[in-house]
């Protein structure tokens, strides 16, 4: 069953229950976050009595909300009053509800019963209910941070659905760090009504989303989930990271097959069959999603590594072992074309080690030659930011700006910004992914190399190994699609 979640992710007006002027309370924080994120729809804070919060009038009852002005309600009130509030909201035209409120299944037998009633009521009223016991929902196209915690996120094309609210925050923080943004994010909470598959199915139809990113712990009704997520993966990439994956213990089983069927092995096979891109941890999941959201899919497994110095290239090739990726031997015509651009000491093979032989235009030219070659499926450039790092030491030293330092610092910094820009532009033009990696992305995020990648909207990985891992996951997904004629 597919739910219309447009009122949850793009509401024209939001009622918030449980708002007081106490800045420590969830209702207040949600109101604050909505205002600060720039939400432009109607906001109707409702409290136990009429008051004011953050300069906004707080209504004493949902009855005072004008009919048809709000289509979403955000519930922060105690469990016992919420059924009445949901009915009142429905009477005003509300179509979706986010229940941040706790006191449901997680809270013992009474909570289980309350959650059962909530499910029945949602069905009766025809309201799409998210949560309960969830941290909230974020939607950048609507400038909406309806959450009881931080953060908001930069706008982008990754949609997050998570069985853990904490990891929604983790993904949003990583979006801030990398600059690769988010379209939607939702914490499923107890998933009483709406579950991971419901959200991901809606994301599949969402024109603002190009990649789905899922964190899950429990798998209920795995067969149905498999079928539904597979149908989504045929349309858009779905990156999955699963908590509780360390179950190495086999079940008691009469058969060898049963004894070998650990939860993790079966889940992993299900992911491969359904085309789900399974990451090992949250960082890897985000980086894979960020790469998928900002790069074209590779046509195959042949990688060319471009470096300004040796060691990084070796590390990149090492990281390819155990993956589907191949450091492809350089085709003869590509080799000859590079000979024209570089002094004879270059490596003459893949990785293309320029051995310090680059001049003003060499880096973009070599990236371009590799990316546009028909026998190269993806390119990884290592060495971004190195010139600006030298420049930073000059800039910070006592001799700056004299002795010609100002001029050379400016040159180095412009070059790195240009490399980052060129990588984005070349991959768009050629349809070949061009990935970037440098530890400066973490160590010196303001370096014009990684900063340039961010402003070009691209993921700059913090190591060759991590870039290779994202590329491998992306390549596997592309192979899965190709094998099925998608």
């Amino acid at each position: 069953m597919s739910h219309d979640l447009s009122a949850l992710f793009d509401p024209k007006g939001i009622i918030i229950t449980g708002v007081s002027n106490h800045p420590g309370k969830f209702g207040f924080v949600t109101l604050h976050n909505l205002l600060v994120s720039g939400y432009e729809g109607n906001i109707f804070p409702v409290g136990r009595e009429p008051s004011e919060a953050l300069g906004r009038p707080v209504l004493g009852s949902i009855d005072e909300v004008p009919e048809g002005e709000a289509d979403m309600v955000f519930i922060c009130t105690p469990q016992a009053v919420n059924e009445d509030l949901l009915r009142a909201a429905a009477a005003k035209g509300v179509k979706a509800a986010f229940f941040a409120a706790a006191g449901y299944r997680e809270a013992g037998p009474d909570g289980v019963e309350a959650e059962r009633r909530l499910v029945a009521l949602a069905d009766e009223l025809g309201i799409a209910v998210a949560g309960p016991n969830g941290q909230g929902v974020v939607s950048t196209p609507s400038k909406m941070c309806a959450q009881i915690v931080a953060p908001y996120a930069p706008a982008g094309r990754i949609a997050v659905a998570s069985q853990s609210g904490n990891f929604v925050s983790s993904f949003l923080n990583l979006a801030h760090h990398t600059g690769v943004g988010i379209s939607r994010a939702v914490a499923a909470g107890n998933a009483a009504v709406l579950g991971i598959a419901d959200y991901v199915e809606w994301f599949a139809d969402d024109p603002e989303t190009s990649v789905c990113l899922v964190y899950m712990e429990s798998v209920d009704n795995g067969r149905e989930m498999f079928e539904r997520l597979k149908a989504v993966a045929e349309r858009k990439p779905v990156v999955v990271v699963k908590g509780g994956a360390s179950d190495a213990g086999a079940r008691a089983a009469a058969s060898h097959t049963g004894a070998l069927a650990s939860d993790d092995a079966v889940f992993d096979g299900m992911c491969r069959q359904a085309g789900l891109i399974r990451a090992r941890d949250v960082e890897e999941a985000f980086e894979a999603a960020a790469t998928l959201a900002t790069q074209p899919l590779p046509a195959g497994e042949r990688v060319v590594v471009v470096t300004t110095v040796g060691g990084w290239g070796v590390a990149a090739v090492d990281a390819m072992s155990g993956t589907r990726l191949v450091a492809t031997p350089l085709p003869a015509d590509l080799h000859a074309a590079i000979d024209e651009k570089l002094p004879p000491r270059w490596s003459k093979n893949n990785p293309i080690d320029m051995a310090g032989g680059e001049t003003r235009d060499t880096v973009p030219e070599i990236m371009e030659l590799a990316a546009s070659h028909p026998e190269v499926d993806s390119v990884l450039f290592l060495g971004l930011g190195i010139q600006s790092n030298t420049a930073a030491m000059m800039r910070d030293g006592e001799f700056y700006p004299d002795h010609g330092l100002e001029r050379i610092v400016g040159f180095h910094e412009r070059q790195d910004a240009r490399y980052a820009e060129a990588a984005a532009e070349i991959s768009e033009r050629t349809g070949t992914p061009v990935l970037l990696a440098t530890e400066l992305a973490n160590a010196r995020p303001d370096n014009p190399g990684p900063a340039g990648a961010r402003s070009a909207g691209r993921m700059c990985h913090s190591s060759a190994g991590r870039a290779i891992r994202s590329l491998d996951l992306m390549t596997r997904y592309a192979q899965w699609r190709r094998a099925r004629g998608l």
Binding site: V219, G222, A254, H256, G258, A261, G269, M270, R272
Partner: protein, 222 residues
């Protein structure tokens, strides 16, 4: 609760779906066995003889498997021994004789009814060593040829599937066909809890199961 079919019964079921098993015949007396072997040209000496029955779970541990029987005389003597070794609580037993299949490379394949995903299919490396090696891949049944091919690709020990010690590389399509056939057993037979094809020996690059064990939900048998 579940019951396991005898190896002979299990082989008969999976064979109907095109799962390759080593050529075999069965009999409940020595004379019947000798006649059956003589009548079936696909069963060639040297052969292996096993005493099987639903209640006999661990043939090897009880010494109920006789390998490399070179001719009818050796087979006759082995059959006499095996039938004499049957215990009253073994229930109905029969002797299964099959061509002795040799190959250096062993795989394992099987089905398992998973509590989360329903019937799943497995392919693994190592045959009887599979549980120690744990290089296994699963899929949800049903599977396509594409899924089966990807199962093969997902095994970590790819080198074992290439040319190996004078034996040819894996005949990929044969293994794909075997896996798709095994999955079809699960789709069409009711109440399957698990199936083991263990080991699945590569002979001239093609997989042949030399043991099969099918576990059924007990209600199905009543």
């Amino acid at each position: 609760m579940s019951i396991t079919l005898s190896e002979a019964e299990s082989r008969r079921v999976v064979t109907r779906y095109g799962v390759p098993v080593s050529p075999f015949v069965t009999g409940t007396s020595t004379d019947e066995v000798i006649e059956a072997v003589a009548a079936d040209p696909t069963v060639e000496y040297p052969v292996v003889a096993k005493l099987c029955g639903r209640a006999i779970a661990h043939k090897t541990e009880r010494g109920l498997v006789r390998l490399r029987l070179a001719d009818a005389a050796a087979l006759r003597s082995a059959c006499d021994d095996l039938l004499a070794a049957a215990r009253p609580d073994d229930g109905d037993v029969e002797v299964l004789v099959s061509t002795m299949v040799d190959g250096n490379r062993e795989l394992i394949a099987g089905l398992n009814d998973d509590p989360q995903f329903g019937l799943t299919i497995m392919l693994g490396v190592g045959g009887i060593l599979a549980e120690a090696i744990r290089d296994v891949v699963f899929r949800v049944v049903p599977i396509t040829d594409i899924d089966a091919g990807e199962m093969i690709d997902d095994l970590a020990t790819q080198r074992l599937l290439e040319e190996f010690r004078g034996e040819p590389a894996l005949d990929r399509q044969s293994l794909i066909d075997a896996l798709v056939g095994l999955a079809a057993v699960g789709e069409q037979e009711a109440d399957i809890v698990s199936i083991d094809l263990n080991p699945l020996i590569l002979v001239d690059g093609k997989p042949i199961a030399v043991d099969a064990l099918l576990e059924l939900n007990q209600e199905a048998d009543q």
